[in-house]
Symmetry: C2
Subunit: 140 residues, 2 copies
DNA sequence: TTCGATTATCTTGAATCTGAGATAATAATA
DNA sequence: TATTATTATCTCAGATTCAAGATAATCGAA
C-alpha cells in the first residue's frame, strides 16, 4: 500500500508557496506588522476608504478578527475609524498620515522583494508558469 | 505610483496554493481533524514509531504545540505515548489500532483527492510545472 | 566522578483567529 | 405604520499557535 504522497506538483506547489509566505512574513515583520494587519493596510492603500466589511471580504477574515485587527492598527495610529453619515451601522476606515507614510515607504521595497523571488525565470518561463497555474487554479 | 502588486506568477501561485490548502482542510475536517493533527498522524502512518521531537521537526511545529496536539490525539485514542527504555527524556509515539484504521480508510481517498486537483494537466505539463516550481523554490 | 552543556518534553502566558450570538441600524413589506 | 428580515459591527468563549522558561535526563570534558 502507498502510504506516502508522491504527487510532485502538489508537493512542490505547497512547499514553494509556504517558503514564499514565510519569507514575506519576515519582510512584513520588519515593520512590526502581522500578515493580516499588513493586508488591511494594503487594501486601504490600494483602494482608499473602505468599510470594515469590505476589507474583511477582500482579505477573507471573519468579522471578529476584523474588529480585533482594526483595533490594533487604530491604537497604533496607522488608520482611523470614521462614522458613515448615511448609514449609522457602517464604519469607514482610512489610513492616517502615519499609515500612508509607512506604506509609501514600504511598498516599493515589498514589490521589489516579490519580483526578486521570480528573478530566476525568463519571461517565457513566467508566461508558462502563469498558464499552468491558471489551469490548476480553475480546476480547484 | 504603483500601489497594486502586479506580479502575476506570485499572485497566481499564492491564490492557487491557498485554494488547494482550503479544499484539503475541508477534506481533513470530515474526519474531525485539523491540519496539524492530520500531519502528525500522516507522519506516524508513513514512518511508524517516532519521537515527539522527530514529528515536530518534520511538520515544523513548536514543542509547545506538539504537546498540545499529541494530547488531543491521545485523548481521542488515535495514538499513544510510550516511554523510551534507553533514554528517559524521550517519548515514542505510535498510532493505535484506531489511528491506523482511520488512516487506512482515509489515505486512499486523500491521495485520490490530491491527484484529482491536477487532472487538468497533461503529463508533459506536469513535468513543466515541476521544473518551473523547482527553479522558483531553489531561489527563495 | 562531577559539573556544565545539551536535549526532550511539558507548562504557561500571550497573540491571533473563528464562530455564535448580541446590539443597533436600516430596508422591505404587509 | 408596525413588523420582520437583513446588515454591519462588536463581544465573548474557545481553539490553536508560538516563545520563553521549567523540569528532568543524558552527555562530555576536566
Amino acid at each position: 500500500m502507498e502510504r506516502k504522497c508522491n504527487n510532485q506538483p502538489y508537493l512542490l506547489l505547497m512547499q514553494t508557496s509556504k517558503a514564499i509566505h514565510d519569507r514575506i512574513k519576515e519582510e512584513i515583520a520588519k515593520n512590526k506588522l502581522g500578515i493580516t494587519e499588513f493586508s488591511v493596510l494594503e487594501v486601504l492603500y490600494q483602494k482608499g476608504k473602505q468599510t470594515i466589511q469590505q476589507i474583511g471580504k477582500c482579505i477573507l477574515v471573519s468579522s471578529g478578527s476584523m474588529t480585533y485587527v482594526i483595533d490594533k492598527l487604530e491604537q497604533r495610529g496607522l488608520l482611523s475609524r470614521n462614522a458613515c453619515a448615511n448609514d449609522r451601522r457602517v464604519i469607514h476606515v482610512t489610513l492616517t498620515d502615519d499609515g500612508n507614510e509607512l506604506m509609501n515607504e514600504f511598498m516599493p521595497k515589498y514589490h521589489e522583494f516579490i519580483n526578486h523571488l521570480f528573478d530566476s525565470l525568463h519571461s517565457d518561463e513566467v508566461e508558462a508558469l502563469v498558464q499552468l497555474l491558471k489551469k490548476v487554479r480553475n480546476k480547484v
